[in-house]
């Protein structure tokens, strides 16, 4: 699905990603954990194509394509989805109009005709139910006046509508109460299949009780310093990040 090799990225003079290597196959769920400032969100942003970062080294292959050569919209059209840590409010653009534009631009990219309005509305209805999103929110402006939980559920709703191959969830659990967390996780689990993959970025083990990862990676200081199975998350939760920091700071010296 995606192969990341020796990826380095900087913002201004500051190098944030210092050689990431990661391979994700279809059907897998990967969790990326790590302390604040370790580069988790940068990795998500770089994959989605945010312009603020400069890629200084490395390559990313996404389903046989050079991901870093693609514009952000083409990455999305190729099946990459980023659930934003801070979803953006867009006053005046209705959720429905926004999604219709997105669905149809993705279809056009693949040489498909526009989705008939009736099918589109049926899809909206079905997917809204999945994330228990109030139908009224669909007609409101994108994320405008949504609560924190509604914004995150709206991200998962969009993901469900666009049906990506690879979804990167950037701290989707932050700011969620336990019910919202369950709803988000239910959505992800329902969408999971053998042909798609998920990257779940999180600080806490909590989300991973609901979305069970196949692999857990610890990102620290711009590198993946440890990988393992789901038990690694539990270990982290028990010991905290200080242990990791100590261990790897001494290694770097």
């Amino acid at each position: 699905m995606i192969t990341i090799k020796n990826l380095h990225a900087s913002i201004g003079d500051k190098e944030i990603l210092k050689g990431i290597n990661l391979e994700i196959k279809a059907g897998e769920i990967h969790a990326i954990m790590g302390p604040n400032g370790s580069g988790k969100s940068t990795l998500a942003s770089v994959l989605a194509g945010r312009q603020d970062y400069e890629i200084t080294q490395g390559e990313v292959q996404f389903n046989g394509k050079d991901l870093l050569e693609l514009s952000p919209e083409d990455r999305a059209r190729e099946g990459l989805f980023l659930a934003f840590q801070y979803p953006v409010e867009i006053p005046g653009v209705s959720n429905i109009n926004f999604l219709k534009t997105a669905v149809n631009e993705i279809r056009a990219y693949h040489g498909q005709e526009e989705m008939p309005a009736k099918d589109f509305l049926a899809l909206v209805k079905e997917k809204q139910k999945l994330v228990e999103l109030d139908g009224k929110l669909a007609n409101r402006s994108v994320n405008e006046g949504f609560s924190g939980g509604e914004k995150k559920r709206n991200e998962i709703f969009q993901m469900a509508m666009l049906n990506p191959k690879l979804a990167v969830l950037d701290e989707t659990d932050s700011g969620l109460d336990i019910d919202a967390l369950r709803i988000v996780a239910t959505g992800v689990n329902a969408l999971k299949n053998k042909d798609n993959a998920f990257v779940v970025i999180t600080h806490y083990q909590r989300l991973l009780d609901y979305i069970v990862p196949d692999f857990v990676h610890i990102l620290y200081n711009g590198k993946i310093v440890k990988s393992g199975g789901k038990e690694l998350a539990l270990e982290l939760e028990a010991k905290g990040y200080d242990e990791v920091k100590k261990q790897f700071e001494s290694l770097e010296k």
Binding site: G49, E73, A76, G92
Partner: protein, 424 residues
């Protein structure tokens, strides 16, 4: 400098005098005042504070050197008509009975200036002061055969009135459309004013409207300006509102080489209300200059202004909003906001709130914002597969909707939205 100013005005007077119709509906006193004003003050340059960003003297010298006044006749206006409105057509400043619909709506009276009785003639120039502005003077000196439209007391007009001001020439020309609109006591009307330029020549339209909103009356008015690259215009609306009266205007400017709007509203009695909304989208080297004046003369009145601009390429937008609260106008509520998006590094916006408050118990506020298109929002849309171009359109559309949605005539709103989207 003064000699130079006089020069432009004199040139215009000389060039158009020979072709202007015999003006018999403007009284001699006003006519001589107008000519005297033009002779002494001339056409304003950018040294004039009110025309700082809109050097009309320069525009006349540069763009209208060869005014020939060879105006075209116009035979068919059907393509511009709205289905559910009554159309009044004004061609090159003159009311055209033959192109206009039959005005058989109850409570509606229209009289061409040339047919006005003595009482009617006295209304001409009763709101717009001929000695206040060069373009009022210029219109007064050369006014076309406009009309007086009156909505009778207590009448609620069942259909919007669509006034089409069409100008057509193949050489440089100056036209001076003018009207008086009077909404009687307790009456209600919706009036759409649309400006169109046809033909190959550059046309300078110097429009003047005097509007009376009677006691407890309501005038909802829309101004749609789409004059194209050959259209230059100054549009003066001089409005007076009586007790409990309400005036709403939404002005949308989609094209025109130079468009200057002077929208002056006098809240002349207690408990009246005025709303001015504006949307302008400028391109190439266009200039759109919106000057508004809310003159609060009496207590307990409310005014509200919302202007939005999208400024592309090397074009310039101006918003100057003056709110004047006189000392008797206690308990005034007046708000104003001007929001603009600059689409290129060469685009310019000049925005200036101008509050003069002489009463002590009032609520007045203004806000202005100018920025570029929100790149964070663009990225969010891109990340969902929406291309840059579509993202830009979605965002500009959303920005403009707030003003476009004020238009309550569905057919007009859809037409404007459609044209606006095509231009994006």
């Amino acid at each position: 400098m003064i000699a130079e100013k006089t020069n432009t005005a004199q040139t215009i007077i000389d060039k158009i005098s020979s072709t202007a119709g015999k003006v018999n509906f403007i009284d001699n006193d006003q006519l001589s005042k107008a000519l005297l004003y033009l002779e002494n003050k001339g056409i304003p340059t950018n040294k004039h504070e009110d025309y700082k960003y809109c050097n009309l003297d320069g525009i006349f010298k540069k763009q209208f050197k060869n005014i020939e006044q060879k105006l075209n006749s116009v035979s068919d206006m059907n393509q511009f008509k709205l289905k559910d409105a009554l159309t009044i057509v004004v061609v090159n400043g003159n009311y055209s009975e033959s192109l206009s619909d039959k005005l058989i709506l109850k409570g509606l009276h229209l009289t061409a200036f040339s047919n006005l009785d003595k009482e009617g003639k006295q209304l001409i120039g009763s709101l717009a002061n001929v000695e206040a502005d060069a373009f009022v003077a210029l219109n007064t000196a050369f006014s076309g055969n406009g009309f007086h439209l009156k909505i009778a007391d207590n009448e609620q007009l069942q259909m919007p009135i669509h006034i089409l001001y069409v100008s057509s020439a193949n050489t440089e020309a100056l036209v001076n459309p003018r009207n008086i609109i009077e909404i009687g006591k307790n009456a209600e009307a919706t009036i759409i004013e649309e400006q169109i330029c046809l033909g190959e020549g550059k046309i300078f339209t110097n429009f003047l409207s005097e509007k009376f909103v009677g006691e407890n009356a309501k005038l909802t008015s829309y101004t749609f300006q789409n004059e194209g690259k050959n259209g230059f215009s100054v549009n003066t609306n001089q409005v007076t509102i009586a007790r409990y009266g309400k005036y709403d205007n939404t002005t949308v400017t989609l094209s025109g080489a130079v468009v200057r709007n002077n929208h002056n509203v006098v809240l002349a009695a207690q408990n009246c209300e005025a709303h001015l909304n504006g949307l302008f989208s400028t391109k190439a080297n266009q200039l759109v200059d919106n000057h508004t004046l809310m003159d609060h003369q009496m207590p307990n009145c409310e005014s509200n202004e919302l202007y939005k601009g999208i400024i592309n390429d090397k074009s310039t937008g101006v918003f100057n909003g003056k709110i004047y609260v006189r000392k008797d106008a206690q308990k005034t509520n007046a708000y104003q906001s001007s929001n603009n998006i600059l689409m290129s590094d060469d685009a310019t916006i000049n925005t200036k709130p101008q509050l003069e408050i002489y009463a002590d118990d009032v609520k007045c506020s203004h806000g202005t914002s100018t920025g570029k298109i929100d790149e964070v929002a663009v990225f969010y849309l891109n990340a969902r597969g929406i291309g840059r171009e579509s993202a830009r359109k979605l965002l500009l559309n959303a920005f403009a909707q707030e003003v476009i949605n004020k238009i309550e005539v569905d057919e007009l709103r859809e037409k404007i939205l459609d044209l606006f989207e095509k231009e994006l």
